[in-house]
């Protein structure tokens, strides 16, 4: 049998990397098991002429389309929003837009302020030092001083405005609406061994330059140098427990597909809002027949995605197209509740610079604005390089019927039951999306855009996987306590997006990592009585 480790972390993505790095200073024996491998930037799409075509195959954001051995299938047939993720060292930070807003202080008190959902058991101030530490570690760029966002101190200047940003800014100014350069994790200058952005284009599926921050090139090198052990191509099947109901270790399949048992004194789950409930439900036993840490019955419940309402159009002037990072500006004009709008809560907006030629052709043909035949060439030249986009990230409120369960049939390559998603968009979200689309149309039309198209929701837009093992002080209404420890198993922690109580209306990775650092800090403060 293998020697036990002090801390075993499952998942080497956004939160797993952060918690590993933070705990490394304890000098405990820390092991991380990751089902994917190390990435090779020389193989990233932007290194090849066929960079756009790869998005439809091996570099699709959907694990079901990619179908790499490192991926697991997800049955999301019963959801209008499909799950997207990436499985590797770095997790989904390898494949994300690098848009870097954080939750607002008001997002932690939704029940108190607006009478819906629940308040978090912690507040924004508890996370502030960890937001700042995380921004330094991930390396953010932006412009401090946004009057409608929490104050941030990005260590690098904001991305250039570019052609697209200027058109959007002028339109927003005409309408008198808020906009601001986005905080991003794109390096705008050389930073901690990362080269500055050279505008390779749509950098969502990994950055060959290394300018976009992903935890394989930020946290992990530091964590490994500090002594953390990272084993790749190791897929955990279940967490085991002992006669006292404590986590005793994990059963996993190694790189050769051989079943292994790794004992551990502490287990930390960092598998995202779909992978984490899947693992807990797959860890059912006679002592925990409904799944591990599931006495509340809430493991897998309250899945929140952020329905995206996207609208885009085409202006006469050239836009940045694929010659820049995709996101450049945000707006918080409609972030907070306004009862006159007919819905509670709100949405953040991220503006999109444009698209590459293949994507433009494929999507425009599907939308019916790019014809077949003789007129194809004229119309394509009108569209290509002229796109501007508006995406509203609508706050998704928790609803128990939106859930992750185990599929009774579907299994991954190791025979482990796959997750099944059941999800519907609420009436509140639908009203919010309609409101956002109307505002987006005003912005685009003010900019002179025509041929306006809508994706609402973005069907392949399930990037944000939240809420399925929520945090709280009441063990009957939550899965983990206010510092990330499961109520039921006192040496089992969760640090990923599944512990979100509410979703806010922003991309969540900054907040996920701040939470992971906060939980690591709480653990370090309580090492002497961690299991009390």
């Amino acid at each position: 049998m293998k020697d036990p480790v002090d801390v075993l972390i499952i998942g080497a993505g956004a939160s797993g990397a952060a918690v590993a790095w933070s705990l490394a200073e304890t000098k405990m024996h820390i092991l991380c098991l990751e089902q994917g491998g190390w990435m090779n930037p020389a193989e990233y799409p932007s290194t090849g002429r066929d960079w756009e075509a790869k998005f439809y195959g091996e570099w699709s954001s959907s694990p079901n389309v990619r179908g790499r051995p490192e991926d697991y299938p997800i049955n999301d047939d019963n959801s209008p929003i499909k799950v997207v993720n990436y499985n590797a060292v770095g997790g989904s930070t390898v494949m994300y837009t690098a848009h870097w807003p954080r939750l607002h202080p008001s997002d932690f008190k939704v029940k108190t302020l607006d009478g819906v959902a629940d308040d978090w058991p912690i507040d924004y101030d508890a996370l502030t030092p960890f937001f700042e530490e995380n921004d330094r570690m991930m390396g953010t760029s932006g412009l401090s001083g946004d009057p409608l966002s929490p104050l941030t101190y990005p260590p690098m200047p904001q991305q250039p405005l570019g052609l697209s940003g200027a058109i959007i800014g002028k339109s927003m100014n005409k309408l008198g609406w808020h906009w601001w350069p986005s905080d991003t994790t794109v390096a705008t200058m050389d930073y901690e061994g990362r080269a500055r952005c050279i505008n390779l284009g749509h950098c969502t599926p990994a950055c060959a330059q290394g300018a976009k921050s992903s935890t394989d090139i930020t946290y992990w090198p530091h964590a490994i140098r500090a002594g953390v052990e990272l084993r790749t191509h190791c897929r955990v099947r279940e967490i085991t427990t002992d006669e006292n109901g404590m986590a005793s270790g994990v059963v996993y399949y190694d790189n050769d597909g051989v079943e292994q048992f790794q004992p551990a004194h502490v287990v930390i789950i960092a598998c995202n809002g779909v992978g984490t409930p899947r693992l807990l439900l797959n860890s059912a036993s006679s002592r925990f027949p409904n799944g591990l840490a599931n006495s509340s019955g809430l493991v897998g419940k309250n899945l929140m995605f952020h329905p995206y309402a996207q609208i885009y159009g085409y202006v006469k002037e050239p836009t940045d197209s694929n010659r820049a990072p995709p996101t450049c500006l945000w707006s918080k004009e409609w972030y907070d509740t306004d009862p006159s709008r007919g819905f509670v809560r709100g949405y953040g907006v991220q503006f999109v610079r444009g698209a590459g030629p293949v994507f433009e052709a494929v999507v425009s043909e599907q939308k019916g604005i790019l014809p077949w035949g003789e007129d194809h060439h004229r119309v394509f030249r009108k569209l290509n390089g002229h796109r501007l986009g508006f995406s509203a990230i609508c706050e998704d409120l928790p609803e128990e019927h939106n859930q992750v369960t185990l599929d009774p049939v579907l299994k991954d390559g190791h025979g482990i039951p796959a997750p099944k998603i059941d999800y519907t968009i609420s009436e509140n979200s639908r009203k919010m999306m309609e409101h956002a689309l109307a505002r987006g149309r005003e912005i685009l039309e003010t900019a002179g855009a025509t041929d306006i198209c809508i994706n609402s929701p973005i069907p392949w837009g399930g990037w944000h996987l939240l809420g399925t093992a929520r945090m709280g002080t009441d063990s009957e209404r939550s899965v983990v306590n206010e510092w990330g420890r499961t109520h039921d198993v006192k040496n089992l922690f969760i640090v990923d997006g599944s512990i979100f109580v509410t979703s806010g209306g922003v991309n969540p990775t900054s907040t996920i990592q701040a939470l992971a650092l906060y939980i690591a800090d709480q653990m370090k403060q309580r090492l002497a009585n961690l299991f009390d």
């Binding site: 075509a53 202080p105 009057p147 405005l161 601001w180 293949v358 077949w372 060439h377």
Partner: protein, 149 residues
């Protein structure tokens, strides 16, 4: 196995015909059609995981046409194409996407669009910093972050 042998001769003929219907050659823009031999060869060489759906789409087209698509007169061919695109589902979408993704990476086509014939990395692109005075009205207007109690 190459897609040359995964698609039948009849399927390859249909692929060429429908590709030309989607993107015909243009003297005005000095570009080939998507039935150009080099572009067709690219499609066949890179079909990969799309082969099954593309083959299904081509068979669907053949059934709708009742004979080789190229033998139909123009109005009938257009009617078949419309029916195919409207009801062809994922297979039809995949076929069209394969045609377009190969067409819009052809050197002659990209050249006609004024795009450089290279991978994005390592040269990248230049992005102008822009006029940040545009942000002045937003700064002047200010605002208040909603506070939590």
């Amino acid at each position: 196995m190459s897609a040359d042998t995964q698609l039948t001769r009849a399927q390859r003929d249909e692929l060429r015909t429908v590709a030309a219907m989607i993107v015909p050659a243009s003297g005005e823009y000095n570009v080939p059609g998507a039935d150009d031999p080099a572009i067709q060869a690219d499609m066949l060489a890179t079909l990969g995981r799309d082969t099954k759906l593309v083959a299904a789409a081509l068979d669907h087209l053949a059934r709708l046409a009742g004979r080789p698509l190229g033998e139909l007169d123009a109005p009938r061919r257009d009617a078949v194409a419309q029916e195919f695109r409207k009801h062809g589902g994922a297979a039809a979408a995949t076929l069209v996407r394969v045609v377009l993704q190969c067409y819009y990476r052809d050197d002659r086509v990209l050249g006609s669009l004024g795009l450089e014939l290279r991978a994005p990395f390592p040269k990248g692109h230049v992005l102008e910093d822009g006029d940040w005075s545009l942000l002045d009205p937003v700064k002047a207007r200010g605002g208040t972050l909603r506070r939590a109690p």
